[in-house]
Amino acid sequence: MKTSLKWINDYLNNSINLDADAVADLAEKIERTSVEIADSTTLAQQQDGLVVAKVMSVTSHPDSDHMVIAQVDIGESKLTQVVTGAPNIAEGQFVILAKVGAHIINHETGELIELKPAELRGKVSNGMLVALQEIGFDSKISPKDFEAGIYVFGENENVQPGDDALTVLGMDEPVLDTDLTPNRADMLSMIGTAYELGAMLNQAVTLPDFDLVEYESPAKNQVSLFIDDDDLVSKYAVRVINHVTVEDSPLWLQKRLWNAGMRPINNIVDITNYMMLMYGQPLHAFDLDKLHDNEIHVRRAEVDEKLVTLDGQKRDLRPGEDIVIATTDGPLMLAGVMGGLESEVDESTQNIVIESAVFNPSLIRSTARRHNIHSEASARFERGVNWDATYVALDHAASLVDELAKGQVARERIVAANIERKEVSLTITATRVNQILGTTLTLKEIAGFFDQLNFQYTLDSEKIEVILPARRADMSIEADVVEEIARLYGYDNLPVTLPYGPTTPGKLTRQQRQIRASRKILESLGLNQAISYVLTTPEKSQQFAENVTAKVVTLNYPMSSDRTTARQNLLAGLLEDVAYNVNHFVHNIALYEQGRVFVANEDNELPTEIEHIAGVLTGDDVTSSWQNQKAARAVDFYDIKGIVSAYLDQIGTTNIKYVATNRHVNMHPGQTADIYVGDVYIGFAGQIHPKLTQSQKMAPVFGFELNLFTIMNEAKSDVQYDKISRFPQVSRDAALLVNENIENAKIESVIRQSAGNKLVDVTLFDVYTGDNLPSGKRSLAYTLTYQDNDDTLVEAEVNADFENVITALVNELDVQVR
């Protein structure tokens, strides 16, 4: 909230020093004690050289039909000549002159420019008459009257030629824009802010004073109030004021409004806004003569009701939910949110009703949200207004309408709802405060903070009974009070300690260690970790999913069509990463990702989250760019399979099986294997289907996706030392001509089953398919290694074992030994 420190000073006995350096220090202090300061500035900024000028004469410009030549008095011995195109200039006006040498901010570029004498169609202009928008006023705050021309001071403002216009307009007042957290509703008012700054500066607050004169005729003869639903308001009161003169507000009031970032409109509206800024209590003024009858109802909207609000929008009201103020004819306004156009106060208004209320905060909040109106009023009602200010603000407003609009205040407030606020008092002990803050404060020091805050309390030797003031709607419990103490004591003054007490071991669970190990293993195998987006399209969420019939988790209101559905696989995201890299000229890619996939359950249940790990490999395996024997070669299925095998071995799974599969629609049907630990399926590896990669000009991409939960279930953590044999190894080679459709896995399995107990290793060392083999055949060559732990092997024994293997291969797989 834009807070003029000059205004605050009204309540703090002028104790705030308004010098720039002092203001900077204060802003810093507020940030450390209270709330953030978004901006600390003045409306003037770095502008200068602006003075009040009296227009002494206006003559036409001989060479221009839209410009005139004016002689103005700026309190100097000679008049100053200016040429202006302002359509609203007239003799006798008091206006603003930017003198030669003045610095003003160009409102389009934001640059500070120095004004030089100008010649306009042959006539010298010593300066420029300016509009407020030309000297730094946002168009949202400058009065509408002068939108099309220069600013003209009101007749009664008592300004003198030569006065510093920045001062006269209040543009030199330092304004702190406080960035309020939602709890600090109290600081949405000048008085509330004064209490806060007073606490910081240890300065008592003086509340504003006013006299209210009531006329004989009672207000209740002119309107009657009806609260149709007690849930809607805690307090509701109005005043009726007759015979008002609606006109511009005096400059002092306009200054307060524009320094607070509000546009002056007319005296009645300005007074309600002024009171809102002063007390934090939103008020609303209706034109009494525009009401259909004299009944004012506070009720919920009914079916098919419509309302045109002050912003000109026609709104369909939500029956039973929106709160409205209404006559028997229909709604007048969205209560606490925005007024209605039909009962708006304008220049012809003569009699007004001013309303002051405490509306139900959550109903206001939902109404404001539903209609997307976040007004100054709704902001305050939502967060909670000061229950002690409802009638004060109303009466103060009435007194100002008398003073500034010559209104006659009808006798008595009409009060339709007046729920008494329950006073909250809390018992505070020093022990408890110190136990929470880690401090060593005494009860007396704590009481000192309550003095600063102007909280009422009683102190005895053990405790303080503190009464929470109505203006602090955010406070209700002990912790709230502790916070007040902490921030006034100063967070910098808190000791620095670490929690003490029973020691707890900081350790990871086995599952956590395995997930971290999984990442490390894949990194050591050369894959970079990727973190992709979880939200994706419905298609991609299931592109490589374990079970495409599983239900997906879908947002009910997504931001974009690219991010609607939670992923059921990681590969699709990695494939997007590959595409991004390829588009950016990176072709050799090795990535993995570890993360969750999501499977929806019943609507009212949380989905099942499953940890997966997946990887992709594409481009060349570049070992060396220049060594012939290690030159680049394209990666292939066996590279990704090698990575998966190494990973599965390191993580502790054994008995891994790779089974050729064509069941994954987005994988190459001839280059994909389902992977099992024993009989348990854990995932797959293979080439991403070329239909997905070729269209994007990608080289073949190989990938795998594994279910980490299943892997961790199957992984064995027990490692047992295997004695290393000191006896020599004996090996035998077998080159086999086999039918093409017989897989290596099958052959190896037959070898192991028939090999006897001395076989320690089978290594495939050659695969050959070529012209000099019979069609439908290929050649596979294996080295079988034998070793005994306890003895040197006997040649004959090995030969016999090897013969058994060959026999089994011939019998079972119809191989020919070459």
């Binding site: 709330v35 709890n183 029973p502 707890t504 990442r519 990727a530 987006y533 991004y580 949380l606």
Partner: protein, 349 residues
């Protein structure tokens, strides 16, 4: 000639032959010292030497043998060295040619930050809660908001735009719900609860350089019988010094979160702070929110706020990584550009 003279003559002849010989050292050794060699032949004459002279002659014989043996060994060593040198010269290569490439994968930069935080807190005896049951990314409205003291119409819900799945189920907007889930399970007879919860969170934001609909948080919480705000300050100072360096300082400013009271924003000094530094020369940047856990939150989780006190904080790895490495666009973290990922390859820092 006497045997002594013969031996002496053999010695000088042998020295000469060895020194000038380019021939096979092994052949020379055989011809001089072998069973049929010259020395052996001469020493056969020992039997004719008078017994009283044998000792002297024998010594001379040994000297000759030793000298020849030594010389031969030296010669052989020199020859081997020369051969080795020749081999080395012939094998000399350009060592400035590039080495063979070994791909080493990196943890993602965000993972590195999370790992650093995790290591720090493990050292302080914290648990890490990041499993799918106690730290689900899809949460209920109850745990994400209501248990965090944010009832349905709370104004602070405006601060967080949420991806809902159903009216009661959503993508978590913060890692705070892990607090409640951990508290429900904690056995206080085994000591205070000290936990961190790293993980992904989601907000209904349009992605740009500073906003991402997906990012990371590390929630932290300590609940015990005498946990103070001074402990919070000490804990945050220690993690910030781990992440940003020992000479960095923190400061706390009042703030508001529905789930903590008092609540603070925490700034870390961008520059290193020395004792002689003027306060206005320290540049502060906002890095995290923290506070003493709100009694309502403790109560909703079944903890007596009069017996136990607690602090909580939320760390943002994405923001830390941006600050620490000068990354100017948060989207970089999720594009997985290999040129980006492989920059963060320093280990052991």
């Amino acid at each position: 000639m006497s045997l002594i003279e013969d031996l002496t003559a053999l010695k000088s002849a042998a020295v000469k032959r060895i020194n000038t010989s380019g021939a096979d050292i092994e052949a020379l050794r055989v011809s001089l010292l072998g069973k049929k060699g010259e020395l052996t032949a001469l020493l056969k004459g020992m039997k004719d030497v008078l017994p009283e002279d044998r000792r002297a002659v024998g010594e001379i014989g040994n000297d000759v043998r030793q000298t020849i043996t030594q010389l031969l060994a030296q010669k052989k060593a020199a020859e081997e060295t020369a051969k080795m040198n020749a081999q080395l010269v012939s094998e000399t290569i350009d060592v400035t040619l590039p080495g063979s490439v070994h791909r080493v994968g990196q943890p993602h930069v965000l993972q590195q930050i999370i790992d650093e935080i995790e290591q720090h807190f493990l050292g302080l005896g914290f648990e890490v809660i990041d499993d799918t049951i106690d730290s689900p990314e899809v949460e209920t409205d109850e745990y994400n908001f209501e248990r965090e003291n944010l009832p349905k119409d709370h104004p602070a819900r405006d601060m967080q735009d949420t991806f809902y799945i159903t009216p009661e189920i959503l993508l978590r907007t913060q890692t705070s719900p892990v607090q409640s889930r951990s508290l429900e399970k904690h056995d206080f007879s085994k000591g205070p609860l000290k936990m961190i919860a790293p993980g992904k969170v989601y907000r209904r934001d349009t992605d740009d350089a500073t906003h991402s609909h997906q990012f990371h948080q590390v929630e932290g919480m300590v609940v015990g019988e005498n946990i103070t705000m001074a402990d919070l300050k000490g804990t945050l100072l220690s993690i910030m010094q781990t992440l940003f360096g020992e000479k960095h300082q923190i400061r706390m400013r009042p703030s508001y979160f529905p789930f903590t009271e008092p609540s603070v924003e925490v700034d870390v000094s961008w520059n290193e702070v020395t004792p002689d530094m003027k306060p206005e020369d320290i540049e502060w940047i906002e890095v995290l929110g923290a506070g003493m856990t709100h009694p309502n939150v403790l109560r909703m989780d079944g903890i007596d706020p009069n017996k136990y006190s607690a602090f909580a904080f939320g760390l943002g790895p994405d923001r830390f990584a941006m600050l620490k490495y000068g990354v100017d666009d948060i989207r970089q973290f999720y594009l997985n550009d290999v040129r980006f990922l492989s920059q963060f390859n320093r280990k052991g820092n």
